[in-house]
Symmetry: C2
């Protein structure tokens, strides 16, 4: 059983930016192409497929276009669903069993916090796609009611491989944290042990879309890794945009948590500047392995930090011109480096896209300079000439600035 | 060739009104059921399928749900398209030739002024449906450029019946009027006369969505009936919400203009209070006939006018209580009449829906009374208790108050 895993595709992000408006679509298409190339059985998305729960018409049209292009075809489906589809899926039925649609590449998705159900009818753009039959939307829990959450897995069988796939679309951290901390409040339904399907025949996988808090970082209620039950073999953690612990061979001993990261940078943060990947999960019997594939259509993004007070030779705080010259040179060097890198084949397949540059400037003891004027020199050379500089007075913050990703 | 014609379905209108929120969907479903029942080859919609060009998620989900339910099935398609589909259709292809969709009931539609292409990419919800393959969107002209308009018909053949179908989605009246008044500016492409397809073998039909101005009513530029070329046999006029000239047998001599009217009342005007219909067009060779079918799921709507100064015995302008009693009795009588009518089987198949009541009150010489207080007595008896009264001082206006329909 081969599954391509991607998350946080944020279709429509930057759609009002002339340079970046196609970024999310271009890379989502690369993900779908990769799925075809790697001959996967299915694609699993970890939420935030859309950047907004009510995206523009243009974003919806493009999403439907891409999914139609890659998901509708004659390829046979080589796995089947054993669980109750009316419980699993918002549409009540897996799309490849709909006799009116010719699904060749089934996509499964949960919702994120960006495309969460909202409004009187608790709907998001994912519901629209679900209604078209282009995605299988699962892990949508009914709002309101008690904090009780029942997780009913999608049971997938291909030959002798059995995958028990739990999904949980985004819930407010505090609320979900409380549920997990209350004994018996989160019900993990396990497949019944029946002849031919002993309870240990399943690979147990869970996909969720929540903040992933360091053990000691916050006191507030949220889901912690230690809340997750020990029988889970593999956890796919959406929402966090940086790709982490995502590659290599892993045999199914103990729990393994992967964080695929987003396919497009939605913030100019350090974590987002790291390479973007999609993951190939191969499950055979009760073993699985993960491979990561770097996404090549991602816009280059260089992130640097500098503290003005530490520059050598020292800058004079009162000489704004000197500070401006220094920062211009610093950005310029990054831009030249990016240009050389692209030209000299650092990532030979990638499109010649203007890079994103973000310089985090600790200006403690200094004043800010006019970023607009500085940016003017980089129009046509940088994708974001007017927001390259980020001013900070605090000591360089931790990398965790992707809240709400 | 059998075509069900409906227009101005305004999906999503009144969606924030608890009583009326389902009205547009209920009757659109009736239209689709009628199409199935009458075993038509196709459905033709005249625009304003959606009440807004960016409808709510809920409206989009329901629209996709209804169209999927009725359009996706195994019924064979018994006609074919002879014209260049890449010119005709926004999607570049008629949906029933898409090998990945199982279309049994093809729907053709133009856009109206409510679901007109807007924004940078000139898109509306109709484009979203077009992208899903659930409708065939035609008559979408490219914006901007000169006032020149080229009308390329969809050529439909079924046996020896040939239909040349022109469509033109809504354009601002003034702009379209200018185009029509400028010689050579509107190009009607005629099918070439070829062996087996002489130029007189076609029934020429045109569907448009514009204000339909009385000959003498306005001086402003707009499309007038006399602008339409003489070779047209049948014109379907969308946008006007009152059903007019829509029934009976007509043999294809000269031009015939039908105005199907909306399937839901979007305004509490006199025209909208008249019965709603869908039309069945049957074309055989170069003859056609039209039949109208009253829509039974439409919410009852009673419209009345009264001039306070003409009431007998006369009302005293200074006695507000007396005027209130008079108006309450008048509304009450209408409500009772409606209730009896529904109970006594005036329209036995219709759902027991609370009626809409609109009383247009000419209060010349009088003051208005508190409509809220009056309405309070009709909560639970009338669908619109709080806007039953419309105050007017002008002499009773003409029926043409559906501008922007
Ligand atoms: Mn997120
Ligand atoms: Mn995200
Ligand atoms: Mn209209
Ligand atoms: Mn209308």
């Amino acid at each position: 059983l081969r599954i391509l895993i991607s998350t946080d595709n944020h279709l429509g992000v930057w759609e009002k930016d002339e340079t970046r408006r196609d970024d999310s679509f271009r890379t989502f298409e690369e993900v779908l192409q990769l799925a075809v190339e790697k001959r996967v059985d299915t694609v699993l998305l970890g939420g935030d497929l859309f950047h907004e729960n009510k995206p523009s018409r243009s974003t919806l049209v493009k999403a439907i276009q891409l999914l139609s292009k890659y998901c509708l075809n004659d390829r046979p489906i080589r796995f089947r669903i054993l669980s109750d589809q009316s419980v699993n899926f918002v549409s009540g039925r897996v799309n490849f069993e709909n006799p009116n649609l010719n699904i060749g590449l089934p996509v499964f998705t949960i919702h994120g916090n960006h495309d969460d159900p909202a409004g009187q009818d608790s709907l998001s753009a994912v519901d629209i796609l679900s209604q078209t039959g282009l995605v299988n939307y699962f892990g949508k829990h009914v709002r309101g009611g008690a904090a009780r959450i029942t997780l009913s897995p999608v049971l997938i069988e291909k030959g002798s491989t059995r995958l028990c796939l739990y999904g949980l679309g985004n819930i407010r951290d505090e609320r979900l944290g409380r549920s997990f901390q209350t004994p018996g409040c989160v019900q993990w339904q396990r497949p019944a042990s029946t002849p031919g399907y002993p309870s240990d025949c399943w690979i147990n996988m869970f996909v969720l879309h929540q903040n992933r808090v360091q053990h000691t970082a916050f006191a507030k209620a949220c889901v912690r890794e230690e809340h997750l039950p020990p029988f889970l073999d593999l956890v796919v953690w959406g929402h966090e945009h940086e790709c982490r612990q995502a590659g290599g061979w892993v045999f199914g001993f103990g729990r393994y948590i992967v964080q695929p990261g987003s396919s497009v940078a939605t913030a100019l943060s350090e974590g987002e500047s790291r390479p973007k990947h999609a993951l190939l999960l191969e499950v055979k019997g009760t073993n699985f392995r993960l491979q990561k594939f770097r996404l090549r259509t991602v816009r280059p993004f260089e992130f640097e930090s500098v503290a003005l007070r530490d520059v050598q030779p020292p800058l004079k705080p009162e000489d704004t011109e000197e500070v401006t010259r220094f920062l211009t040179a610093k950005v310029g060097a990054t831009e030249v480096h990016q240009r050389r890198y692209r030209r000299d084949g650092g990532n030979p397949d990638s499109a010649p896209l203007l890079p994103l540059i973000r310089l985090r400037v600790d200006y403690t003891g200094f004043s800010t300079v006019n970023s607009q004027r500085l940016g003017q020199r980089f129009v046509g050379k940088v994708a974001n000439p007017h927001d390259m500089l980020q001013w900070t007075k605090a000591p360089a913050r931790s990398r965790r600035d992707e809240e709400g990703a």
